[in-house]
């Protein structure tokens, strides 16, 4: 199967679904589910045929002579891991959107999102990477703006504008790279001498920081994540933020290793600030979904710290934590969104005693929460531990500080349990009906299973992840 099918196919399919999908909701749902499953199978196939190190060439298309602009598709372990994560999340998002209103349009946009996101992880041409990167914004804008909560319009426009401005910096950086190296291919750029690497590094770093997000460029996130419908929050946290982290690793750390080493302290400092700032914000928050959103930012701070180590073990840990974060935050967002849907309230103060009313839902919430604070036996523990070790190895023992971040995490998570899950049953909870659609509940269960599975058998994941950074280990650093 040509990779182009998975990039441009969804765009065509989305148009067809939008045109002919009205009143065929069930078909539409299964068509998109089938597409996402197919994407997963394709990604697994790629994993199977990947060479041990280096790229797998998937072909070049649409070459433009005189302007290093060519849709060059190459994948390595890093991109295939991202593809697998994306397709798994898309499947679970489709399942958790089973009862969404205006089904055909919603799923058309979801399918539309699948195309460019595949392109982002496959393309090694800078300009095409940028094209796909920007294109993911369009379905997101509509998904947040149409299906979001009360403040959806403000959130959608802010999200679009904010991240679009950041993208402009990235585009300028790519132009400068092309001007100075004469190539748009990321693998070639690494080997060439850049004349103004400092400027390029800062443009790229700030551009990608917005997407990750790293303090102080995170302000779009609480709005977008809170206002988005719950499955879309999952997509934002699980895929869009990962796209930022992926780009940070691929284009800042791996493409400009020299400058990254020079400015590693910037990445480290901002990562730590993000970790603690967002942690304290989560502690302070009484709005359930905002708490989850800040917890999400805090975890991305952890990923940033791991990236700042610029080492083999650190980058592996970062990638592991990225996957862990996607699996942990997603059920929290889904449940927070569901609770709001049923109780009509975002405030944790209005809830309480959920365990008595909806024990299974509460159990999954507790499991994901405990994973978020790093309970051994869950994927969260492995992620945080490996990051802690990698960071201490690179920067010395004072980074035991990270463990303090985990403690703040424990603080807000356990306090949330106290306010939402346990305690006396509140009026709001008593009145509400928490019966969940079976398909949507199944998605939550799958998340829970994955959290525990990879917590108990992290090596299944590390085998693949380590291969992504094997070249770094082989040459003993960047």
């Amino acid at each position: 199967m040509s990779p182009l099918f998975f990039i441009f196919g969804p765009m065509v399919l989305a148009a067809l679904v939008a045109l002919y999908g009205k009143k065929r909701d069930t078909i539409v749902k299964f068509v998109s589910l089938a597409l996402f499953v197919w994407m997963l199978i394709y990604a697994l196939e790629l994993l199977a045929i990947l060479p041990d190190s280096g790229y797998l060439d998937l072909g070049s298309y649409l070459a433009v002579k005189d302007f290093g602009f060519e849709l060059t598709l190459q994948v390595d372990h890093l991109s295939v891991v991202m593809l697998i994560l994306t397709s798994v999340l898309l499947i679970l998002v489709a399942l958790s959107s089973w009862t969404m209103k205006r089904t055909s349009t919603y799923f058309a946009l979801l399918i539309l999102f699948a195309g460019p996101i595949t392109g982002v992880f496959m393309s090694t041409d800078l300009l095409w990477f940028f094209i796909f990167w920007e294109l993911t914004l369009v379905p997101m804008y509509f998904l947040v703006g149409i299906w979001g909560a009360e403040g959806r319009i403000y959130a959608a426009v802010k999200f679009f504008l904010y991240t679009h401005v950041a993208s402009m910096l990235i585009l300028l950086a790519f132009f400068l790279v092309y001007k100075e190296t004469g190539t748009m291919n990321m693998t070639l750029v690494r080997e060439s001498m850049l004349a103004s690497p400092v400027l390029i590094w800062w443009l790229l770093f700030i551009g990608f920081s917005v997407k990750m997000p790293i303090f102080p460029f995170h302000t779009w996130l609480p709005d977008a994540h809170v206002q988005a419908p719950a499955p879309i929050s999952v997509l934002l946290a699980g895929v869009l933020l990962k796209m930022g982290a992926y780009a940070m690793i691929r284009m800042v750390v791996l493409m400009l290793p020299g400058q990254s080493a020079h400015f590693a302290w910037v990445i480290l400092a901002l990562g730590l600030i993000t970790l603690f700032y967002a942690g304290f914000m989560a502690l302070y928050e009484t709005h359930l979904k905002k708490m989850v959103a800040y917890s999400s930012i805090s975890h991305m701070g952890l990923v940033t710290v791991a990236i700042a180590t610029l080492s083999y073990s650190g980058l592996s840990a970062a990638l592991f934590e990225m996957i862990g974060h996607a699996l942990i935050i997603s059920p929290l967002f889904l449940i927070a969104g569901f609770l709001h849907h049923r109780t009509g309230s975002w405030q944790m103060g209005d809830m309480g005693g959920l365990m008595q009313k909806a024990p299974y839902l509460s159990a999954i919430f507790v499991l994901a929460g405990l994973a978020a604070l790093g309970l051994p036996g869950t994927i969260g523990f492995v992620g945080e531990l490996t990051i802690l070790i990698a960071a201490i190895k690179s920067y010395g023992f004072w980074l035991i500080l990270i463990a303090l971040g985990s403690m703040i995490g424990a603080g807000y998570i356990i306090w949330t349990f106290r306010r939402v899950i346990y305690g006396e049953i509140s009026q709001t909870v008593r009145k509400s009906d928490f019966r969940m659609d079976h398909v949507e509940f199944a998605a939550l269960v799958i998340f829970a299973v994955l959290i525990v599975f990879f917590g108990l058998f992290p090596s299944t994941l590390f085998d693949v992840i380590n291969a992504a950074f094997a070249p770094i280990a082989a040459q003993g650093g960047l």
Binding site: L127, E134, L135, F142, G145, S167, M168, L171, F175
Partner: protein, 439 residues
């Protein structure tokens, strides 16, 4: 010798006799199809003072395709005839190679534009038309003044612009550029544009902002680029300053408009700023490709949005953002066309508008103007503010009140042609790059 020019000219004259018959539109369509065919097979004017090139051939072809969409859209006899005349004059302007032919063809385009908007129905349209006429007359005056200075300074009428010039003739050429900037709506020569574009009939505005302006930009670039490239120390600061001021002011003012036509009129001014950046980037080998790409992208999307406005006004009486609310529920197809073209204007990838901007901006980076490009990029991001805001009204808001709707057929084919152009040039960049340097 029966080239594109002659065919269109004859068809335009014949069409005058066909008003109020059912034959006008078929004749116009046949003529434009014929001209597309002739241009495709390499027709050129073939008179002294005119010269064709690969890039001009591609652009002429696209111009004719866009005019085909305009003709398919248009129902009014007057406008159809003027469209054919505009096509004729544009073909001449694009191929003109000497000062004489350039000025004559440019004046022809201007005068036909005046005739086009002089078809007045309301007081508002009269205001728009008069403003345009006055600004146009001043522009002509300045242009001729510049030409005279250039000629006194040693220039020749029957030749392309001299690259080596005296102080007086250099001054003359820059004065000529000032006159042309009126047509290109460069700040501070933009004052008339927002009013005129927004007040005249939308289908006329489509021809003015979409077609005529783009043609002038391309012809101007072709005609002046060798001279400007020779005087970089003078031209670059002037062009960069004007470009930056134009795009910034255009985008900034667009943010505050309530009427859709005014938003798009200011957006058109902002785009003139992006186009001007190509004039500043002449040091780079990508400048001509960038300008050509920007022009191609712009002619498709700008014509499309104003034709869509025309449909919106005719069908739903929509003029303001407020009235646009919930259109997606009333007419999904129209909302879709509108959204795609707006996103193209905003520079969202896989649409022509993105590639146009990307190539122009790269040309400027290549010419060492990265700070100006940063401003342009931030401007482009700022512009998303109002494009996305229009889209927000289309999709996110609930419709207000029952819609008054007339039942005339939607000119879908016309919009499909423009949409196909926007998509094709968003994806297949090599179409333009293969001819871009052959100006």
């Amino acid at each position: 010798m029966f080239g594109t020019f002659s065919l269109l000219f004859v068809a335009a004259l014949v069409s005058l006799a066909l008003h109020r018959t059912k034959w006008l539109k078929p004749v116009a369509l046949v003529a434009i199809f014929g001209s597309i065919f002739l241009t495709y097979s390499g027709s050129h004017i073939g008179l002294a003072g005119f010269e064709n090139s690969e890039a001009i051939r591609l652009f002429t072809l696209i111009l004719e395709i866009v005019l085909l969409a305009v003709i398919l859209h248009e129902e009014e006899d007057q406008t159809l005839t003027q469209t054919l005349f505009i096509a004729t004059a544009s073909v001449a302007l694009l191929q003109s190679h000497t000062l004489l032919t350039f000025i004559v063809s440019f004046e022809a385009v201007s005068i036909i534009s005046f005739v086009l908007v002089s078809h007045i129905r309301t007081a508002a349209q009269a205001e728009g038309a008069v403003k345009m006429f006055i600004a146009g007359s001043i522009a002509t005056g300045i242009l001729l003044l510049g030409a005279v200075l250039y000629l006194i300074g040693g220039g020749r009428l029957g030749a392309p612009i001299a690259v080596e010039t005296t102080a007086l003739s250099t001054t003359g050429l820059f004065v000529m550029l000032l006159g042309l900037f009126y047509k290109l709506t460069i700040v501070p020569m933009h004052g008339w544009a927002a009013d005129s574009y927004a007040l005249v009939r939308h289908s006329h505005a489509a021809i003015l902002t979409g077609v005529a302006k783009t043609v002038v930009a391309v012809a101007m670039f072709r005609f002046f680029a060798p001279f400007l490239a020779e005087h970089l120390s003078l031209s670059v600061p002037v062009m960069v300053t004007l470009a930056v001021v134009t795009m910034t002011l255009g985008n900034y003012l667009a943010l505050f408009q309530k009427r859709i036509a005014r938003i798009l009129a200011y957006s058109s001014i902002a785009h003139a700023g992006y186009i001007l950046l190509a004039f500043a980037a002449l040091k780079s080998g990508y400048a001509s490709t960038g300008l050509l790409y920007m022009a191609i992208a712009y002619i498709f999307m700008q014509t499309a949005v104003f034709l869509l406005l025309d449909i919106l006004r005719k069908r739903y009486g929509i003029e303001t953002l407020e009235a646009l609310k919930g259109l997606a529920k009333k007419n999904g197809l129209l909302a879709f066309f509108f959204t795609v073209q707006l996103f193209s204007l905003a520079g969202i990838p896989l649409l022509a508008g993105f590639m146009g901007k990307a190539v122009v901006f790269y040309a400027a980076v290549d010419a060492g103007l990265w700070a100006a490009v940063l401003i342009a990029l931030l401007n482009s991001a700022l512009s998303v503010g109002y494009y996305a805001w229009i889209v927000k009204h289309l999709y996110f808001d609930e419709a207000q009140g029952p819609a008054s709707q007339s039942n005339d057929k939607l000119p879908i084919v016309s919009q499909l042609i423009l949409l196909a152009g926007t998509l094709t040039f968003g994806i297949f960049a090599s179409l333009v790059f293969s001819v871009g340097n052959a100006f």
